[in-house]
């Protein structure tokens, strides 16, 4: 271990109790139990407003943690993450909406949490993720050859292209008959345009959201601790040195990008099916991308727990500061500038919360 060129970095990356804890099926099972607890115990107890807040938190956690894989692990600067969210959201939403129309005559929710409709929904989420991943591959492959700041512009441009294209789509059919009249290709071009895509059935609930959150967190953590992860972090430290050591940086960067896009797509799908949501391209533009970037930066680029905590804080804060909405963005912006000057590593830097001194000491490091 000490002979490895990453020995110095490995100190922060050495698999310890936490990695052992994430091995195997146990953590996923724990996650499922937590999600179920949230759905059946916590949800009803706190009421609809806070349940909705918990769902929003979950979605933002997925977005922040997935972006962290790109911005944090590989140090590549992507500011088009909301574009993948939009792609996934629209793909999943269209799938559920049109299938519901054709199979059941209308976009209502079918069955309970584990009913037929839910199966469609979960499938749609995965499809949304895959479509977003494909987009990630299409964007990543050519652009990740470019230097950091160019990638930022390309991703921003990508987000804008998605927005413009979505705004050009036609109105969504309202009745099953209208839906039946459309061919599959036409369905893909009838996504609501700039007025938005409303009527997507409200399948998103605490259980599914937090199942996906668990999945995201586990994948992110295992990625970080794996050979992949170490390669990623080496790229971030010094891309040229990594190339010299034989790390195929482009391949790894593209992989990171695709994985991140997948989860952004899933988050988009969850968002699309949330109660009260109308999918609108304007809301999934660069402002949303910036929101996510802020979470990753404040949490510490490379830290999963940092991104998670920042996502929680920055979802809750606007609700708490509802009154001072004008000043919210100004405060965010100032925070961003100050953090970069005073504490650029954010909350946790590259480390996880359990690697910080009070916790690490207990494990005898």
């Amino acid at each position: 271990m000490t002979a490895s060129p990453w020995a110095g970095k490995a100190g922060a990356l050495r698999p310890g109790t936490a990695a052992a804890a994430t091995a195997g099926v146990t953590p996923f099972a724990v996650g499922l139990l937590l999600a179920a607890a949230l759905q059946y115990a916590v949800g009803p107890a706190v009421g609809p407003f806070f349940s909705d807040l918990l769902i929003k938190i979950g979605i933002n956690v997925i977005l922040a943690v997935s972006l962290n894989v790109v911005n944090g692990y590989t140090g590549q600067f992507s500011i088009g993450h909301a574009g993948f969210m939009a792609v996934g959201g629209y793909a999943a939403g269209a799938l559920t909406y049109y299938t519901s129309m054709l199979a059941w005559g209308g976009p209502q929710v079918q069955g309970g949490v584990f009913g037929v409709g839910s199966a469609l929904f979960v499938g749609a989420c995965l499809v949304g993720g895959l479509v977003a991943a494909a987009a990630g591959w299409a964007v990543g492959l050519p652009s990740l050859r470019l230097r950091g700041d160019y990638l930022a512009i390309v991703t921003l441009g990508f987000g804008e292209i998605v927005r413009v294209l979505l705004q050009q789509t036609q109105d969504v059919p309202f009745t099953a008959d209208e839906a039946r009249a459309l061919s599959p290709v036409e369905m893909a071009t009838h996504l609501g345009g700039s007025l938005g895509f409303s009527g997507i059935p409200f399948y998103t609930n605490l259980f599914w959201v937090w199942c996906f959150v668990t999945l995201t967190l586990l994948v992110a953590y295992r990625l970080k601790e794996s050979t992949f992860g170490r390669a990623f972090l080496s790229i971030r430290e010094n891309e040229i040195a990594a190339e010299a050591m034989g790390v195929d940086t482009t391949r790894y960067k593209v992989r990171a990008f695709v994985i991140a896009a997948f989860f952004a797509g899933v988050a988009g799908a969850l968002f699309a099916h949330k109660i009260g949501t109308t999918l609108n391209p304007r809301e999934l533009g660069f402002m949303k991308s910036f929101d996510i970037v802020i979470m990753v930066v404040l949490g510490g680029m490379g830290s999963i727990s940092g991104a998670t905590i920042a996502a929680v804080l920055l979802t809750v804060l606007p609700e708490a500061l509802r009154g001072a909405a004008d000043y919210r963005m100004i405060v965010y912006a100032l925070m961003l500038v100050l953090v970069m000057i005073v504490r650029p590593q954010g909350l946790f830097g590259i480390r996880e919360i359990w690697e910080l001194p009070p916790f690490a000491r207990r494990r005898g490091r």
Partner: protein, 308 residues
């Protein structure tokens, strides 16, 4: 034919605006190797401060024809305001990060951008409502050529932009300070060994770039009198397109920025006229991706191997 000429004229005018903004991006990138995301917002502040100064001087849309000096006074005021703004942004947000990783400065630039947009929207500043700029330049038709109307506003836009570009060109290539600017953009450490005050050069670059963006803002307000509110997406898009112009032309290269601006203006107008007006934002980004894939250093850029 008339339509084509009209479209080309529009492209020329819009392209001139993009070129002026692109110069600011390219100068800063040349000197610091960093994309100043907040530059497009300086352009927005330029347009809005032109409006605010005009209003403070008593010129409104409803009032009568303003005197000729009004346009000059408003232009110079907004250039001055943005020059100062550019100075402070560099001094307090970017200079502390001079030796930090590029990623950090990019993030700070985003922060500054958001700060400008949202502070601009505060009630005591510019407010959240769109406004209409009074016509400080009367839109008289100068002449008609092949059925195409050539108005005073468009001619002013193009001539003023060209004059500024020529002035900048002279400054950078024919003055002592200009050679200091070029030396710093090559290698600021060796430039310091020549006795050049690098911080002063960098500050000046920001000041000049911001003044040019303000001029573009003023000209924009002259041409399209409707000003959307400061945090509106249209401003960010305009700034972004100007950045694309700088990249397409070859970032770090002055002539590239000017060429790129004109090219982007033409592409946008031609696309809107002959393909689809709804997709006007798209053409520019497609062009960007094309350039980055096939000639990443831009039209006038040169390939240089990154030194380790």
């Amino acid at each position: 034919m008339t339509d084509l000429l009209q479209t080309l004229l529009n492209g020329l005018a819009v392209g001139s605006l993009y070129a002026l903004i692109a110069l600011g991006y390219t100068m800063v990138y040349g000197i610091l190797q960093f994309i100043n995301f907040a530059h497009g917002d300086v352009f927005m502040i330029g347009a809005w401060s032109a409006y605010a100064v005009a209003a403070a001087l008593g010129f409104t849309l409803a009032g009568g024809d303003p005197p000729g000096w009004a346009a000059v006074a408003v232009l110079l005021s907004s250039m001055g305001i943005c020059a100062v703004l550019g100075f402070f942004i560099e001094r307090f947000a970017y200079r502390p990060l001079r030796s930090a990783p590029r990623l950090n400065v990019l993030i700070t630039a985003i922060g500054v951008s958001l700060l400008l947009q949202n502070t601009g929207q505060l009630r005591p500043v510019f407010g959240t409502q769109p406004q209409s700029m009074p016509a400080l330049l009367p839109d008289t038709t100068l002449f008609q050529v092949a059925g195409v109307r050539v108005g005073l506003v468009d001619v002013t836009v193009v001539l003023l932009a060209v004059a500024m570009m020529v002035g900048l060109q002279w400054l950078v290539f024919r003055t002592r300070f200009g050679s200091a600017m070029r030396a710093v953009s090559h290698d600021h450490r060796i430039a310091a060994l020549m006795g050049i005050r690098v911080d002063t050069v960098i500050s000046f670059t920001f000041v000049v770039g911001s003044a040019l963006a303000a001029a573009a803002g003023f000209l924009f307000a002259m041409k399209y009198s409707g000003l959307k509110q400061p945090a509106d997406a249209t401003w960010v898009l305009l700034g972004l397109k100007a950045f694309v112009a700088a990249v397409v032309g070859g970032i770090g290269n002055l002539q590239g920025a000017m060429l790129g601006g004109l090219l982007i203006g033409m592409v946008e107008m031609l696309g809107a006229a002959y393909l689809s007006p709804h997709l006007r934002d798209l053409y520019v980004f497609v062009l960007l991706i094309g350039v980055l894939l096939f000639r990443p250093t831009g039209i006038m850029g040169s390939t240089s191997v990154e030194k380790v």
